[in-house]
Subunit: 586 residues, 2 copies
């Protein structure tokens, strides 16, 4: 027996179709329809018929789409692991609590390219490696079912159904449990700002979208108009499901700047409150982290202080400031950055654009983050977007010297922010992370391939230079090559990352996010920079000449990125592209 | 000599045309163009030519459009009254300070219909009447130049130019000064959420609008995209001009719910901060009041508490709750109201919809106003919208008995809110306030006339029943008839309003806006209601039978709406549609 429930406030009739038989649903006053079907249970395939119109449609809240976005939905018993009666396992993570965000080091992981197999099961075999690396949380790129077998995951349409190519709901449950057993927290990337262009049947069920606001993906999600209660519930119930039923430790919200909500209680405030409330009731501290392009501290201000009460947000300003200093790039949004002064401001004040005019945006941008700890922000030098949105998906190590990659790591991993690494960054993977899709619809595939070429034509790229997203080799090329761990430059970088992580975790000076805990000195011409973190100093030479920097105190050398680093009682010498971390005598 | 300045960031060339001669402007880096023209000065007519394209366009910041929205702009010396050298007068309001909002009683005034002449000069002759009535501030409906000679004013396109049909800039300056001499404050209604459909040349100068958000009037104002700095400046400089150069005491912002702004500092917060900053520098307390349909307390929360820091906002919930109780109407948004319980909640908690499901909106709406004083909200039973947006522009007195009109006045004028009256309300004007326009463009006129008929067809009205907005008689019919003051029912109501105002101003119990200062008892069936205001009680009988209400204490009768009211030591009797105000012995 199973009770089917579906929200379709404007439908005239709703039936659920199972093995060729139709069962009518009854409407409740709140726009939900219900039917108990005796012959349905876990494993049953089903689809909904609205107003008698074929073909039948998958469930917007489908727990499983084994045959993809166009196929039927399949019932899955999410509660089966709770009572220990399931044949395929049970939860063994009672009492698991991940480290809090002020102690966290995150690792962004894309299931399709993390292993050759591209599955949840295969990823489990690498968990010990990640724990040994010292990271505390995996941040899993979206797992919601999207059209085609391969993709980044941001074009999901069945938000409740873990993607079948990764292994579906059973494999995801197993994976989260295995992470916890390995001592790793897991955050999930969820996309609530749009649906993918293929297989999105939700607008047939209810007004999930509105034409009154335009986003980069078309119509906006309806968060403030008629029937928006149900739309908000759709997303928030999804968030609660991942945390309650799949045991995720928190969520990363994709691109919240694309949400438009003038309601008196913003969607993000409601979402954060409900997630935290669920956590309280379960004795857990679930976290909600937003990707935001707004430079708006309100996202992480406490609700009592007029904020939305999110736990943290991504901070691209730090990335852009660091990346442009390392690479000298000036295209696109990088035109707003490039000086050591910008990098210093990012480290000291988080937002470089804190109500400052942006040439790229052609307007003032942002607001001061004053008073907020660094641990409300994520700091990174690589992530799926910053790598993958380049024409050829080059990682930092493909653009700069090993020395500069080490400097980048040192600055990120001693920053006041929550460090985030992108899979393979820690060993300087030779493989790129390119933009790939796997649309089976030929027309959609053509549109994506041509759109990608057109996008980069504006930056002077020739069409043939751009990897074709639809070509399977673009996906294959983006997979990590784990055999590289044995090769010398990769091994050297991995050792550097491990040492930095250990040092951050040992020395509170380097992990503090307290306001004012970071001071930066630099010489824009000579290209050196010293990050002062309480008694610790991170010294970086980005110039082409060796420098000698006076440090005061009696410095103890904690880490040196290469053999050029030499220390004496009054200072420290660094060759080009070298970094060192020292501790001054208390 | 005059220095012409114009913001046109994307123009290739800009010239100013004066008496057939063209003078080129020079571009600055910030997108502004400038030219000093020796032969220009106050009174000079001019227009701008962009990219060499004729016809020349009026100045978006034109101080005067003597020939309407399509004519040339004319220079006007706004500073002339400051140094006392002008021939037509000087400011005589040094030291003028209006009462603060907690002591205010506002009067909404439409210049075109307030007097037979429809001018600022004619309105001046009625200032003594308004002062005698006891109101403290006039709230002037928009004066910015719009297409045609008559209209409500919400379709302005030259936001800096006082409408010529009202008398233009000189008459407006004179009017504000005269108000202050009469002891009256003056607030100005400004429209920053859209421009009128005729004569809006602003998009030719800069991206004032964006197609990324849709409003009831089409494209939204660009507050968050490229070049939005200049758009925000356009509106905020306008606000500052009215306060600094025309000596207005504050502003009423039209329909702020139609603004879309995801910037880290919301446009309204910036506007309020700049207005208050100007006030501080001049030693004045300028106020900013928003019309808002959001039921969002954030608008009036202090900026330090995460709010926008506005001084007050309109509150339609109180109107709708009171209006439906008085009239029994149920159409449109009135379906969400109708019970004495709603009215009680409005009086006690301001927002009836404070995160409650709204059938009309088909979603939850609003947020609690807890902790905010009533003086952050305007309370009214009539305003230009609530009267004028009815099919025939009927006032309350055209729909209900004199007794009920008196009850309405008693509830409004003893409420914790800032009372607002609509012109003529105080004497129960027989004249309606209908929707009228005066477009000279035939096609536009036809669209407006037909649109109005279509809008009301949805409510079952026949086309011939709807007054034609373009017909001059619709405008004429809406003018107040001051000879009615001598007629008995009008005189009786006027006396009632004057007594209520005097009582509110004498008795702090009745004007307090402190949170918790209002308690309401009622009987939904017997249709009586008692508003408890500290030691005062406002007793209203909305039933068809006489009632006897126990009051406790030793009541002193302060005001009775008719002869049915009788008081003794233990209670008070009221006939149908009667109200009384009593004071309990301390």
């Amino acid at each position: 027996m199973h009770t089917f429930e579906i929200w379709a406030p404007e439908a005239r009739t709703v039936e659920v179709k199972i093995a060729g038989k139709s069962f009518p649903l009854k409407k409740r006053e709140d726009g939900w329809w219900m039917a108990e079907v005796a012959e349905a249970g876990p494993g049953t395939d089903y689809a909904f018929v609205l107003n008698g119109e074929e073909p039948a449609l998958p469930d917007p809240r489908s727990p499983w789409q084994p045959k993809g976005v166009h196929g039927p939905s399949r019932l899955f018993d999410l509660a089966a692991w709770n009572d220990g009666k399931a044949s395929d396992g049970k939860w063994t993570d009672d009492g698991w609590r991940p480290p809090s965000l002020d102690k966290a080091i995150l690792y962004e992981l894309h299931l399709g390219t993390f292993t050759p197999e591209g599955t949840l099961e295969a990823a489990e075999s690498r968990l010990a490696y990640l724990a040994d690396l010292g990271i505390t949380h995996i941040e899993l790129m979206p797992v919601a079912t999207f059209a085609g077998n391969r993709g980044w995951g941001y074009d999901g349409v069945d938000l409740y159904a873990p993607h079948s190519a990764y292994g579906g709901p059973a494999a995801l449950r197993h994976f989260v449990n295995a992470c916890h057993e390995a001592g790793l927290g897991v955050l999930l990337d969820v996309v609530y700002n749009h649906f993918g262009p293929m297989g999105n049947f939700l607008p047939k069920f209810a007004p999930y979208l509105t034409g009154n606001h335009v986003t980069p993906w078309g119509d906006a999600v309806n968060l403030e108009e008629a029937e928006s209660d149900g739309v908000r519930r759709f997303f928030i119930d999804n968030a609660l499901m991942w945390l309650r039923d799949y045991h995720f430790d928190g969520l990363r919200l994709d691109a919240v700047h694309a949400l438009v909500d003038r309601s008196a209680t913003h969607f993000l405030e409601q979402l954060a409150a409900e997630v935290h409330h669920l956590g309280s009731s379960l004795g857990k501290d679930f976290v909600v982290i937003a990707e935001s392009d707004l430079n708006d501290p309100r996202l992480v201000w406490a609700a009592e202080a007029g904020g939305y009460g999110l736990d943290a947000q991504w901070s691209d300003d730090f990335h852009h400031a660091l990346f442009t200093v390392l690479t000298g790039e000036k295209e696109g949004y990088y035109e707003d950055f490039g000086s050591l002064a910008d990098l210093a401001k990012a480290l000291e004040k988080t937002f470089v654009y804190d109500d400052v005019y942006s040439r790229f945006r052609k307007r003032h941008h942002g607001r001061t983050a004053q008073g907020l700890p660094g641990h409300r922000f994520l700091g990174y030098i690589q992530n799926h977007d910053q790598v993958g949105n380049r024409a050829k998906g080059e990682r930092l190590g493909h653009i700069v010297s090993l020395g500069r990659a080490k400097i980048a790591a040192a600055i990120v991993l001693t920053s006041p922010f929550i460090p985030l690494l992108f899979q393979g960054e820690e060993f300087g993977a030779s493989t790129p992370f390119q933009y790939f899709t796997g649309y089976e619809d030929a027309e959609m595939g053509r549109l994506v391939s041509e759109g990608r070429k057109r996008e980069f034509a504006a930056f002077g790229w020739k069409p043939e230079e751009i990897p074709d997203p639809q070509d399977r080799s673009t996906f294959e090329r983006s997979k990590l090559r784990w055999d590289e761990l044995a090769e010398s430059p990769h091994r050297e970088l991995l050792t550097w990352y491990k040492k930095l992580i250990k040092l951050r975790q040992r020395l509170a000076d380097l992990s503090s996010g307290a306001p004012g805990s970071t001071r930066v000195r630099y010489d824009e011409q000579a290209r050196w920079l010293i990050v002062e973190r309480s008694r610790a100093r991170v010294l970086c030479n980005l110039g082409s000449e060796s420098v000698r920097l006076e440090t005061g105190g009696r410095p103890e050398l904690l880490l040196a990125s290469d053999e050029s680093v030499a220390i004496d009682e009054e200072g420290i010498a660094l060759g080009p592209d070298a970094a060192a971390i020292i501790l001054l005598a208390g």
